[in-house]
Every structure is written in structure tokens, then in C-alpha cells.
């Protein structure tokens, strides 16, 4: 419950939360709380996604979705840290990590809030391509809100270092793009999360194609242009 209280502070009083990150107040506790709660929420959402296919897929997605976010965090955070450093930031790597973790936690909370809707569609319709696009939409919305938090946090935490503030803002914008690309490619690598109904359960699918081509193909099938096999 204490972990959830930290999450509540992020949602209700982000200014205070970011100020505490800037001042290094209980960073360890905050990060632990965000990790535990965020990963639990992501696991739940993953389980909902995988339930469309089978119990094994639900369990697999419950494990893979937190891994997806953690791996993306690990891959992308050094870039943000070092570029910020070059442009005059005085943040530590831990503060950087905590800020990105905040974005992931907010995304996870939003995914949790979307989960009942996704569950509803899971039970009432089962057009695979529709369900896939629904999830892409949900992730997009949650992700955008998450990086908005990150952007606000970055601005507040590095407010003391005025030098290079503009450059750091641009770095953050570019980094968000990189983060999105890395995240989507990571998701493609770790797929399936939903599981095609005509296929047996598999932990990982063979590589091939890419995330964006698949999304366009799914839209094409929904609009009746062709069938995705």
C-alpha cells in the first residue's frame, strides 16, 4: 500500500514529487515503489492481452510486458543522461533513471485504467486485427501521457541549470522519438503479446517483418483491402 501511496503522489502532486527527485529525497524508496507498482500493473495488462489466446499466452505476456518496458528503459536511459550532461545538466544518472521510471509508472497506471475496457472488448468481440489495433491505440495514449510527465519532470529537475536549457529540451524531444522506436522494435522482438488465434502458443515468434508494416497491414485488413496471414 505504501508503494501505491507514492504512485498517488505522482498523480496528484507531481510538482512535489519532481521537486523531491531534484533534491534527492528518498530516491531509492521512490524508485522501488515505482518499480514494484509499475511492473505489477504492466503484468496485469499483459495478462489481459494474452488471455485472448490461451492461459499460457496470458502468463507469457504478463512476464514479457514488464520486461519490454524495463529493457527499453535500460537501453535508452544512458543516451538521455549523457546528452543531458553534455548540454549542462547537473542531474545524476539515478535522477534520470527515476524520471524515466516515473514516465513508465504513469504509463502503467494508465494501462491499468484501460484494462477493464480492453477486457470488455476481449469478451465481446474477437476480431484479432481490431484487438491488436485497440491495444496499439491504448499503448500510444498511455505512452504519450507518460512521456509528457517525463518532459515536465525533466524541466523541473534541471531548472537550476539554465545553461543549455533549450538544447536539453531538443535532446529530450529527440530522445522521446528514439524511445518510441526502440520500444516498438523491442515489442516486435518480444512478440507475441496477444497471440494469433490460428496459431499455437509460442514464447517468441520468428523474427521477420517489422512493427509498422504489421500495423499498416492490420489496418488494411480491417478496412477490407487484404487479409493478413
Amino acid at each position: 500500500m505504501n508503494n501505491l501511496a507514492v504512485i498517488e503522489t505522482i498523480l496528484r502532486n507531481r510538482h512535489r514529487f519532481f521537486t523531491e527527485i531534484r533534491d534527492g529525497v528518498e530516491l531509492g524508496h521512490k524508485m522501488r515503489a515505482m518499480l514494484v507498482s509499475g511492473m505489477a500493473f504492466l503484468a496485469l495488462y499483459g495478462a489481459v492481452m494474452g488471455s485472448t489466446h490461451s492461459l499460457w499466452q496470458a502468463l507469457s505476456s504478463a512476464v514479457k510486458l514488464p520486461i519490454l518496458f524495463l529493457a527499453t528503459l535500460v537501453v535508452c536511459s544512458p543516451t538521455l543522461y549523457f546528452f543531458n550532461l553534455i548540454f549542462g545538466s547537473n542531474q545524476s544518472l539515478t535522477q534520470n533513471f527515476a524520471l524515466i521510471l516515473t514516465a513508465i509508472t504513469v504509463t502503467a497506471v494508465l494501462l491499468l485504467s484501460f484494462a477493464p475496457i480492453v477486457l470488455f472488448f476481449l469478451l465481446t468481440t474477437s476480431h484479432y486485427q481490431f484487438f491488436k489495433l485497440l491495444n496499439v491505440g491504448v499503448f500510444t495514449v498511455a505512452g504519450i501521457v507518460g512521456v509528457t510527465f517525463l518532459s515536465q519532470g525533466m524541466r523541473l529537475v534541471s531548472a537550476s541549470g539554465k545553461e543549455g536549457a533549450g538544447a536539453r529540451r531538443n535532446v529530450l524531444r529527440l530522445w522521446i522519438l528514439v524511445y518510441a522506436f526502440v520500444g516498438s522494435q523491442m515489442a516486435w522482438t518480444l512478440r507475441p503479446f496477444i497471440g494469433a488465434p490460428s496459431m499455437k502458443f509460442e514464447l517468441f515468434r520468428q523474427l521477420g517483418g517489422n512493427f509498422y508494416a504489421n500495423i499498416f497491414a492490420s489496418i488494411g485488413e480491417i478496412l477490407g483491402f487484404f487479409t493478413v496471414r
Binding site: A5, I7, N13, L112, L123, S126, P197
Partner: protein, 269 residues
């Protein structure tokens, strides 16, 4: 003597006046202290009450009588008021921080718990094929394992229908059409998926034309002559399986082995 000594009623009234004064002070105190600075030391008592009061010291009496039990609770609020009234405290005063209600955290916890329960519930197998609520809802379910499910492996051209837990091969496109299947019914599955099922007898269509007494079974694109009624029945066919087609169409089909085999070249329709 009687005129000079206050009566019991007068004493009671004194006490009442004293109490009213205290309360008035307590009520007016906070407003005055915040808006106008320190509260006034004394206030004139209401004239209507003051008039009958004899020249005694009401305050002293109030202290002596066991009233403190009534007045004491007021002491604390007055102190608080005094503290608020202090100029230093006023200078440091800030708007109170919004209280963080624990409801959201509790709600998040409950939502997560409810979701977990829902996930478990929708993944409980409902039948022996392992169909769950999550995969059994309308239309879905691309692959709800049930009677009448039409399946085809990706790299195999054979189409099967599931009947009584057994896969029955639909032996020709004529049979496919004859039994009312459409391409929309066909679920393409990956190679090897069908290995889990037991194979049943193939699903054939029997062809006959009006001007010929012979009945042929269409199998893999070739027509196989069924030599007699006994064999027809032994193969498990019924008259409903017989489909009437044009004799020309039937003649154009290549000949296959007779049923049973070894009866020479089949007669042409």
C-alpha cells in the same frame, strides 16, 4: 439586609452573565484576531443583563463556583486563536497543502486485485477442449474447438471438418460445396496443429446423373465407381450424400479405383 445581599436567583444570573461574556469573547476572538489584530480586552456586557446586577464582583464569584468544568474547554480554542493572532505566525502562514486522500491508492489496489480475479476467471477452462471464457465469445474465436469447425493447415491443401471430436477430410471441392461450407468457414492453422486430433472417416460427396444408374464417389478430383448397394451401405453412405450433376460433367472427371478395388474399368455414365 435582604436588599443588600444578592438573592440566589441573582447569583444564578451572575453566573449566567459571566458565562455569556466568556462565550462572546471566545466567538468574537478569532474574527477579530485575524482581521483586526489583537482582540479587545473587555467588552461591555449587554445592558439588559447588566442592569439588575448588584455591585459584586461577578468574575471572582465565577471562579469560586464550580464552573471551571464548563469554561475549561474554551481555554484551548482561545489559546489557538491567540497563536493565530500572533504576527509572526501570520507572516509564515501558507495555504494548507491539499490533503492526499488514501482513496486513490486504495482504488488502484482494488482495481488491480479485481483485474487479477477477472483474468483468472476468464482463463478457467470450460470444457475438455480447454475453451475458456476469453476465447469462447461470439465470433472469435477464430478457434473455439467445436463440432463443425473447418480447419486447414497452412502448407497442406486438405480441408477438414471436426465432427464428434474427429477430423474428417473433405475429399473434394464438390463435397465442400455440397455440405454447405464456405471459404469464410475455413480456419487456417499452422502446420502440425491438426496432429492433436484423431482422424475420422473422410467426408465424400457421391455423384450421379439422371440418365445413368451408377453412383460414383468423388475423391481427390477422380470419380470412383461404387459397384453395388451392399458396398454403398457398407461404406456408411446414405442417399442424402448423393448429389445430382450433369452426365457430361461426370464423364469428364478422371476415373479412379473402383470401390471395392479390383472390379476393372468403371462404366461410364
Amino acid at each position: 439586609m435582604n436588599d443588600q445581599q444578592p438573592s440566589r436567583m441573582d447569583q444564578m444570573l451572575d453566573l449566567l452573565v459571566g458565562e455569556i461574556e466568556e462565550r462572546m469573547r471566545a466567538r468574537q476572538g478569532p474574527a477579530l484576531s485575524i482581521d483586526e489584530g489583537p482582540p479587545p480586552v473587555a467588552e461591555p456586557p449587554p445592558p439588559a443583563v447588566e442592569a439588575p446586577v448588584p455591585p459584586v464582583e461577578p468574575q471572582a464569584k465565577v471562579v469560586e463556583v464550580p464552573i471551571p468544568s464548563i469554561i475549561e474547554p474554551l481555554a484551548e480554542p482561545l489559546e489557538a486563536v491567540a497563536a493565530v493572532a500572533e504576527p509572526e505566525a501570520e507572516a509564515e502562514w501558507q495555504p494548507p497543502k491539499p490533503a492526499v486522500s488514501p482513496n486513490t491508492a486504495r482504488l488502484m489496489g482494488r482495481l488491480a486485485l479485481g483485474l487479477l480475479v477477472a483474468i483468472v476467471l476468464i482463463n478457467i477452462p470450460l470444457n475438455r477442449h480447454g475453451t475458456t471464457l476469453a476465447t469462447a465469445m461470439p465470433d472469435s474465436a477464430a478457434l473455439v474447438i467445436r463440432d463443425g469447425l473447418v480447419l486447414k493447415e497452412e502448407d497442406d491443401e486438405k480441408i477438414y471438418v471436426l465432427q464428434d471430436d474427429k477430423l474428417r477430410w473433405i475429399s473434394s471441392l464438390d463435397a465442400f460445396g455440397h455440405f454447405g461450407f464456405t471459404w469464410g468457414d475455413v480456419h487456417i492453422v499452422e502446420d502440425g496443429f491438426l496432429d492433436r486430433f484423431e482422424m475420422g472417416t473422410p467426408l465424400h460427396v457421391l455423384l450421379k446423373c439422371h440418365s445413368s444408374p451408377h453412383i460414383y464417389r468423388l475423391e481427390g478430383g477422380a470419380k470412383r465407381w461404387i459397384v453395388d448397394i451392399k458396398t454403398f451401405e457398407a461404406e456408411g453412405h446414405v442417399w442424402e450424400d448423393v448429389r445430382f450433376v450433369g452426365c457430361g460433367y461426370l464423364r469428364d472427371l478422371p476415373d479412379g479405383e473402383t470401390i471395392p478395388p479390383g472390379h476393372g474399368p468403371p462404366p461410364q455414365p
